[in-house]
Symmetry: C2
Subunit: 480 residues, 2 copies
């Protein structure tokens, strides 16, 4: 398939990247002499991130070509995406040029955020071919495209347009009535206006406003929107009840600057019926569980990246007591199993066993002094070999613990044995690991510092008094 | 520490859960005879999800007590959280009762979304003790609390309040000026008004509005807010440039319903300076990389939960070509390494090696017919033993492949050997796995279906012609 991107920049570049990384041939036309550099930068970002979304390889990347004329770019295109600046006369001129050269079967999508398709189609040769396809930045990662047809667009182009967008991983939202700025930007604009007032009146800084979003409702909106979230607030009493409660607030003085639609019975009924159609297949309890699982997964993802709400979480986690053992044993993990760690077999997935054992090894490294500061100083341990045995099952929500034993710790080698117990106190798995002390500069093995060697000797002494597990030194499939 | 929760319901219950799961003693007063059941339901949700955020155990849960009188609940509290309905006379009466019985050192936080602290303090015995602490639902998961003091609140209580909230994992945002509805709810209210118009005018349904949020800007707002996102849109030219571009749009006809602050030089300067203070330590390129890493991590998290934008991703992934081998070898994984898979050592973390090998085993199961339908029919394979060898390093962004070989496949046992190669074509790791065919009902081993046994025989025949790896049958620490 061939796409033509008319108008580069961040949006055009994002489209080019989506098409290319999904195997389309892409031709770009942009008179800006900097276009190639600008699109190159967007493409570099996209190559780094878009394929990382998938657990399969994307198709082989298409070829990218910069054209000297618009006609050359669009002349055999199956899709033309217009992303020129938001001036109606420029849009009209560009779209006319496109239509003069493009095949009749091609879809012409406009990235416009402000104009309606009827405005764009005004004076067009073949208005039926042209509609609004409004994406969101970064186009190569965010799935949403508002597809806005006018009455001039037939059923066939609407369907083909949606199919092609889904084929490059996007979520086409077909807007049922033309309106200035479509849907999402009207909502964004409403927030933007309110935010500008807050800054102007000295109520909040830009950072405080951003924090009010990303530590609160922004986390909700990554997975459920306004209405599904409020449906839960209404509880079992339902959406009608919730709107009834919320209604009076619309008349509060702090909303005096704006018109508010009157909450007639008809409007309340419509919202309630639409909400039933949208979310009625789930009970409120089910919705809450879905929401909570999503929030936990999102917050854990942000914790891995040490950003925003995930950074708050890290800081709090660091303040919690580290696991500690008794009777000479060394407890290195004491935690709960998240819902998102389970798999299609209904139990904790094998990869998370190793995640837990890796946490146990990290904690043991900390205990012997190979902590974050030590690693920042250019040394660490790399795992080179692992043996896992699964002896039982562990379920979501279960509290699990890991006890760690040093098997050997001479020179560069560190040989650890972890035992994971579930809530019933029975061993559910064991992990045997060989780690090598490495120089992070040369990426080669090297002897550890003296403090670490001494600390290891101490643990070796302690652990030598523990019974040796029959799980050590076994190969896969060895009979007990 | 002791908390008193006055007013149960979803918000009061969420506070009770946050305090309890962080080890506080909690006393609840709510005259509603259903309060115990309602708080119990919130607490059940919280127990399922809040501990799952952490890789350490939370402190031992505090005890929860329901009190017959308000005085009994607050009488030795360090923190009182008031969450009664939003009627000022009810708030005043309740706060007066609280102050009559509570110790002077206690913080009294009000969950009010609409009233200012000065309104609440009006007529209070000790106004200095009382301020707004406005949380977001679900209170046990979302970190944000808007802390709104009035001039009557001293520096000491502001600081103590923030410290205690951080101690239960929350993100206190101290609001610098009292205003109706604080910050976040003003933004939410703006969106709500616009959304009500869209539904009333038949432009969009509740579901379409929610989709316009959660497939687009909602994903951005889980990690960066409005201004930091727009800063990137401004590019290297900066925030001042961006506002200049955006400014005219504020005067477009579709904003005619609302007042808009005039974008004076002074306001533009203020926004640009605040944005520099907020985000200036990162270049635009760095911000883009942070944003993209967060979006990838969030989208992958939602994919695991098969929800919203993650479901779109799954559907697209299923349409991508499955890995396929050549020359009798069986390729089971072909993919890129996400940024979020790397660790403090700068390479792919060991747990993700097993994640990749688990994907390889899943794919091989699919190939022999043990696919999603087969599993839904009540049978599957469980991994019982694993041996991993790390032979090289793999970096973020690298394309990796796994070739799979059946070592043995007789009866209930399936013995697999995976070899992972990096972009240089060299083996980076091997995984040897013993799986058992199980009955998902009894959770015990059982013989596989005939089709699977036959398919396995076919692969055994194919793979017996491949050279046998020296990596098979080894124990941890065995010399080469």
């Amino acid at each position: 398939m061939k796409a033509a991107v008319v108008g580069g920049g961040v949006i055009g570049g994002g489209w080019a990247a989506r098409f290319l990384l999904n195997g389309w041939e892409v031709a770009v036309f942009d008179p800006d002499p900097e276009a190639e550099r600008k699109i190159g930068a967007v493409l570099a970002n996209a190559r780094r991130s878009l394929p990382a979304l998938y657990d399969r390889a994307l198709p082989a990347e298409g070829t990218l070509r910069f054209c000297a004329s618009l006609a050359e770019a669009v002349d055999s295109a199956d899709w033309v995406q217009e992303s020129v600046p938001e001036r109606i006369e420029l849009k009209h001129r560009t779209l006319a040029e496109i239509q003069a050269a493009v095949p009749e079967h091609a879809v012409i999508g406009s990235s416009t955020s402000g104009f309606t398709p009827s405005q764009l189609q005004d004076g067009a040769t073949r208005p039926a071919q042209l509609l609004v396809c409004h994406p969101f930045n970064p186009v190569y990662l965010l799935p949403l495209v508002e597809v806005v047809p006018s009455p001039a667009n037939g059923e066939d182009i609407r369907a083909r347009c949606s199919d092609l967008l889904a084929g490059i991983g996007m979520k086409p939202l077909v807007v049922r009535k033309e309106i200035d700025a479509h849907i999402a930007d009207r909502l964004l604009e409403a927030v933007w206006r309110e935010a500008l007032w807050l800054v102007r009146d000295g109520i909040a800084t830009t950072e405080e406003i951003d924090d009010a979003i990303r530590f609160g409702f922004g986390l909700r909106w990554a997975q459920m929107g306004l209405f599904e979230t409020y449906r839960m607030a209404g509880g079992e009493a339902g959406m009608r009840h919730f709107i009834g409660q919320f209604g009076p607030a619309l008349k509060w003085p702090w909303t005096k600057l704006t018109d508010v639609p009157e909450l007639t019975d008809e409007l309340v009924d419509r919202i309630a019926a639409q909400s039933d159609a949208q979310s009625g297949r789930h009970s409120i309890r089910e919705l809450e569980a879905i929401r909570d699982d999503n929030l936990v997964a999102i917050l854990r993802a942000l914790k891995t990246n040490a950003w925003g709400a995930g950074e708050t979480l890290s800081r709090h986690e660091a303040s919690l007591a580290a696991p500690h053992g008794a009777n000479g044993s060394t407890l290195t993990v004491d935690r709960q199993v998240p819902q998102s760690w389970t798999d299609y077999n209904g139990h904790m997935n094998e990869a998370h066993y190793l995640e837990v054992f890796a946490q146990a090894s990290d904690r043991f490294m900390e205990l012997i002094g190979a902590d974050a500061d030590y690693i920042a100083g250019g040394h660490s341990y790399f795992t080179v070999e692992t043996h896992l045995r699964h002896l039982g099952e562990v379920m979501a929500g279960e509290r699990i613990k890991v006890a760690t034993q040093v098997v050997a710790g001479d020179g560069k080698k560190l040989h650890l044995f972890h035992q994971l117990t579930g809530e019933n106190g029975e061993p559910a798995a064991t992990g045997e690991h060989l780690l090598l002390h490495v120089d992070l500069e040369t990426r080669r093995s090297s002897p550890p510092g003296r403090r670490i060697s001494e600390s290891l000797l101490h643990y070796l002494g302690e652990h030598s008094r523990l019974p040796k597990s029959e799980g050590i030194g076994r190969f896969v499939g060895q009979r007990p």
